[in-house]
Symmetry: C2
Subunit: 196 residues, 2 copies
């Protein structure tokens, strides 16, 4: 019954944290929304899938060759914050602690899962540091085992280049995920970074 | 930054129960989904908005003139369950307690908010009862003040027609919403219905 509503409910349950009851609630809400608002949700999903790609310099999400951060001339280009995922940039930007550049690794080292350094954007980071007068690399990988291994590995490959390599401070509880940190904790962690 | 992601996040926060952090999580999940899956979510939203209308008989949601329930010949056509909203039908269907027809009022009486009987599909219910050999009308409006007033009102307008009018039993806690009832409670409430 309700064929079209049922399909919307089924589609919505694909999303994380959306069970059958939430999906049902969302579906009937969508049904009651002004058509233009519902359409602009559909359009935003479509657009993100059709135009999203990785920034050719830092691997942030963008819809053009360089992302908005990389193409912003007012940024401090001497400092690069290294993160695991594009979504981490959003969280760090919100702290307003830095106005710098980023580098997204697109993951963290995990030899057991076959995630070796070549699978991540580490060589690309080394090239950026070599060629662009970078003075400090702030490693903001997650404060868990994979993130730590990744930070240590990057510290080692950057060592010959003489660049300052720092690690975001442990204001974050160990074993957690940077994604869910509150802004104050994350700001403190950025301030308290220490050299590796 | 992340223009397209930001717009998707903003769009998603329009939905009920989706705050900024959940929206962010959903947006990055959508970004990582296979394109076809994300597109079919967008398509389901679009389709629901473009094709959904009310059943001309019972005011359920449908994409044709009669809804799937009304056009199902195997249904018991002597009994009509009256609900406030189309979404309530889905919940009642899931109990499998009845294989009957429905009538959606599209709201509940609330004189204080200007919701008078003419604003609801009550006349249409009376016409159905008059013309279609209905033997029982089960009133399944919400067990709260508005739902009770609505049930009493319907009982009165149907009285001259001599049809049996029953009210869903109070297995449901008072003041709650039928939308969030579990199936067992709702089944029991349907079984224990009593004549008004």
């Amino acid at each position: 019954m309700h064929g079209i509503i049922e399909s919307l409910i089924t589609e919505l349950t694909r999303l994380p944290g959306i069970g059958r009851k939430s999906a049902q609630r969302l579906a009937f809400f969508i049904l009651s929304m002004p058509e233009s608002e519902a359409m602009s949700i559909a359009e935003a999903i479509r657009k993100v899938k059709q135009t999203a790609r990785f920034c050719s310099q830092c691997f942030n999400i963008t819809d053009s060759d360089l992302c908005e951060v990389c193409s912003d001339d007012s940024r401090d280009r001497h400092r690069i914050v290294v993160v695991e995922e594009p979504s981490n940039i959003l969280v760090i930007e919100r702290t307003k602690a830095f106005r710098c550049l980023y580098h997204v690794l697109l993951g963290a080292l995990s030899p057991i899962d076959g995630i070796t350094p070549e699978k991540l954007k580490i060589n690309e980071l080394v090239d950026r540091v070599k060629n662009n007068g970078v003075q400090e690399v702030v490693i903001a990988t997650n404060p868990n085992t994979k993130g730590e291994i990744t930070a240590q590995y990057i510290k080692e490959v950057l060592h010959p280049l003489g660049v300052k390599v720092t690690r975001i401070a442990y204001g974050l509880p160990m074993g957690s995920d940077i994604e869910f940190a509150d802004e104050v904790t994350l700001s403190k962690a950025l301030e308290g970074r220490r050299e590796l």
